[in-house]
Symmetry: C2
Subunit: 198 residues, 2 copies
């Protein structure tokens, strides 16, 4: 980058701190923004500020929302007896795209990860317990199927089962459309364990 354009370099430095954007992508993005029509660049800047101003978190489920409680928690058509626990907002968004799921969410905001110093108190578990009134009958644990996600799921199930709730875990198995030949043996093992009657 040229010394003669300190502002562009500052922009590139700032962009390079975003996740998944390296030094070269940041330079390219900075040049792209420089070439954008002024209105478009200003629009981008405005939306960034707007997001920080308008969007907050739902005090019930910890989802992002412009209202509190969020539209999902407020939706009278949703099944209040089912709460799906996920790690991140993006996970909830993915599940919400699945047709047929009409329950509520609870977003933990992470997973248990002792190596990173993340314990139960760092997740929204207290908030989860607070909303478990008698209307709730099933808890679906949809943390990621990796080491930390599974550990979080085990922790939650041990916490919730004694409360007389039905606690389920999303199925682990072969992805639809995949090839048995190329599946790893852990996934195959899970697929066999979780086999179902025809």
């Amino acid at each position: 980058m040229f010394k003669s354009a300190g502002t562009v370099e500052r922009l590139a430095n700032r962009l390079a701190r975003l996740p998944g954007i390296g030094r070269k992508s940041a330079n390219r993005l900075a040049f792209h923004i420089l070439k954008l029509p002024k209105e478009e660049a200003v629009e981008l800047a405005e939306i960034i500020c707007e997001v920080k101003e308008k969007v907050g978190f739902c005090s019930t489920c910890n989802n992002i929302s412009e209202t509190d409680p969020c539209q999902i928690c407020n939706d009278p058509k949703r099944d209040r007896a089912v709460i799906c626990i996920v790690e991140e907002i993006s996970d909830a968004a993915a599940i919400d795209r699945v047709e047929g799921f009409g329950g509520l969410f609870h977003i933990l905001g992470g997973r248990l990860s002792p190596l990173d110093g993340i314990g139960p108190d760092d997740l929204k578990i207290r908030e989860l317990l607070a909303r478990l009134d008698d209307g709730v009958s099933e808890i679906i644990i949809a943390t990621n199927p990796n080491v930390e996600g599974e550990a979080t799921a085990v922790y939650l199930s041990k916490l919730l089962k004694p409360m007389g709730l039905k606690v389920t875990r999303i199925a682990r198995g072969l992805p639809v459309g995949s090839d048995l030949e190329y599946a790893d043996s852990v996934t195959l093992g899970r697929a066999l364990d979780g086999r179902q009657d025809y």
Copy 2:
């Protein structure tokens, strides 16, 4: 993305229009920006606006600059007899990082590409001709070593040579540190053609 957070979705839509950022990266970036401390998000927005306000183009060499002419064109220590022609600003920045090059630049703003409808009039060639006073002795053509870049180089050399200027092209050959075994034959051919005396 959730319907309940229209602003986040608008931000993700806007980010997805940037080069090299797909739908999923855009969602991830939008969530990241949402989680940033407010000052940092505002800072990012401000730099984007600042870039558009402060940074313009040098009327001599078409480089980005906060002054006109730019710091490179204005630098009394630079060799005004040598002009290096490149396609994009980022190319000039790359060459400027090479120690030993102390000439001026001229940024074409693209390459000849008839398939995309880009002809000589769409590049800053008129501006190049306008600055070729008697002080200039050598033109180094440093367009990219691909089909369009080579075509642009041939076009420029045919235009500039009759004017009595020394016109050179950057060498094409094996990259330093590469393996002869894995080099493609076109590059190897160029490396042989361009061999130099010890």
